[in-house]
Symmetry: C2
């Protein structure tokens, strides 16, 4: 199942960049770390128009392309050279599901958000020869990676737009992610990560239900906001939309991503001092919060934004809550384009 | 485990009222339905000072006594005759855990909120000879029972205070409760409800974690609001406070309660028309919402309150979220006393 899902047919076209052996922050070594990426538009002769956009939890470059890129959008390929990069573990880049034995499946080492960004740095410098990015943006775990970029490589990032994601995981968000992890790992068929293909579907269905219960806003359910997409009941929507998204994915991949999400924390660049870490940022910064987001509440993003020089807090309201990121809400899409357009027009 | 927990030592003193055979709304018959209750104060000669207070999910009359009753509190036994009644399935009243075979455990029939209130009506009319209640109040599932009282027996209820609970379950709340149910039922040791004592502890621990993630507010975790109670980490709090509460309880009892919660709906008294059902209420009504409540959001309670004649919406803020009901927040306790005191002082 998983190998058919993580394919050029479904997620392509994408290209591969091979980094060779790569050491994670934990000290673990990955053999021939490979990043899958897709590009849109052309790099300007002065290389000033490059945008980097990493993926979120359980997503690939394909959904970013479909939801954010196009003529007339803020991310217009006629103006910008846009690099969509798949994070480690998402099934297209190096992952438990595609690594050769013996470092496959449950034996694939756990990376951090920092490892993603270090690998992406190799991609943009060695493969594309860039010295600066006009914009780094991302939603959710993509926001975590955007934060990491702006703190780790402050001179490299001209503008940054973390959308619906925090620089340092809150204790509550860590707890929420733990419940997602548990839902998969508690399925007896999971068997410590050594399962038969498709065997963990009960765990994935439970995970989908938890994800749905907090990923969208209560109002979406109570007003049957999904009926415009042809869903009839809560169960029909959760199964047909959310479980449908997760069921073809690999359980070890999702767990690796979830643990990476849970442990996101830029403050380690300043010995645990979040204010000092965020104070390193030189990029023009637009922190984007979704008012109805139960994964990354407005208050948490506002508290981080307040610590950043040259930053603005931008709010978007959507009954789709956190999962407005998917591009399902035209109001959200218009609002995010306005915010990104304004940020890109700001000299930096 | 469960039989030691559901005892006079831990939850008493309480008394038992035996109703004999009792037919649930589903048509199922319970043999010798028994309600456990505790009373405080003395019934006035004109019987005008009786208050009924049913329990919430996983709670007993003991926590209501500890958190709400006392000299100087709104529910002062020197003024009122207060009846705390344990809902069906809570382990003290008739429940899967205490019913004799063959209608024990998973074979105990599923009651509704309406069945609770019909049985409680027998208690207050036949056992206490009452013709009217000065106040019916309750939190969470206790609120559901309060709503049912006010709609089903409008002449009997002078005042009603549903706290942090809806008259009709929203689709989102139903989904949330389903995730609680699944967490227990998915434990292989649950075995369709025929488990060995203590065997389902993994399911109960998973259930506790889900309950904690949405039952309290994110701010409680992010500010370590539980540190004043001696807890050190999120895990320490979730295990020491929340899992500690659920682990001694019977899984079949909790599932029965959760299904009853999920299906709460007073609109069935008016053919599904919620406005018509709530229009039946004659009680002076104080709908109490907790601003940070993720189980029963303010917006949902406000929408119901707007449909009720002679009603007021009262708001309380607490970082403890829904579980401020437990009496852990002095600010909540003072606020609820003020609201109840004002309601009790209103002629009705």
């Amino acid at each position: 199942m998983a190998s058919e899902y993580y394919s050029q047919d479904i997620h392509g076209p994408y290209q591969l960049f091979e980094l060779g052996d790569f050491e994670f922050e934990s000290g673990a070594k990955v053999r021939n770390l490979t990043l899958a990426f897709a590009t849109f538009g052309a790099l300007a002769p002065d290389k000033s128009n490059a945008i980097l956009f990493p993926t979120w939890y359980s997503g690939s470059s394909k959904i970013l392309e479909q939801a954010y890129i196009g003529p007339g959008r803020a991310l217009d390929p006629s103006k910008y050279f846009i690099i969509l990069v798949n994070q480690i573990g998402n099934g297209l880049s190096s992952s438990p599901s595609n690594a050769p034995a013996p470092f496959n499946a449950a034996a694939f080492p756990q990376p951090s958000i920092g490892d993603d960004v270090r690998a992406q740095y190799e991609l943009v410098t060695r493969h594309f020869g860039l010295t600066r990015l006009a914009l780094v943006l991302g939603g959710s775990m993509g926001a975590q990676q955007s934060w990491e970029w702006a703190v780790r490589y402050p001179e490299f990032v001209a503008r940054v737009a973390p959308i619906a994601g925090t620089a340092k995981e809150t204790l509550h968000n860590r707890l929420l992610v733990e419940t997602f992890i548990d839902a998969i790992a508690a399925d007896p068929a999971f068997n410590g990560g050594w399962y038969a293909p498709g065997a963990v579907h009960r765990g994935l269905r439970a995970h989908a239900k938890l994800f749905a219960a907090s990923g969208f806003s209560p109002v979406l359910f109570n007003t049957r906001g999904w009926s415009g997409f042809g869903f009839t009941t809560t169960e029909d929507f959760v199964t047909g939309f959310v479980a449908n998204h997760f069921l073809p994915q690999d359980p070890n991949n999702l767990l690796l991503l979830a643990r990476k999400w849970r442990d996101g924390d830029v403050s380690r660049h300043a010995g645990g001092d979040l204010k000092a870490a965020l104070g390193r940022i030189k990029a023009k910064t637009a922190v984007v919060a979704i008012d109805e987001d139960a994964f990354f509440p407005l208050a948490d993003l506002a508290a981080e934004q307040a610590l950043i020089p040259n930053s603005q807090l931008k709010r978007i309201s959507s009954v789709w809550g956190h999962l407005a990121l998917f591009g399902v809400d035209p109001g959200f899409n218009a609002a995010i384009d306005a915010i990104l357009g304004e940020l890109l027009a700001t000299p930096a």
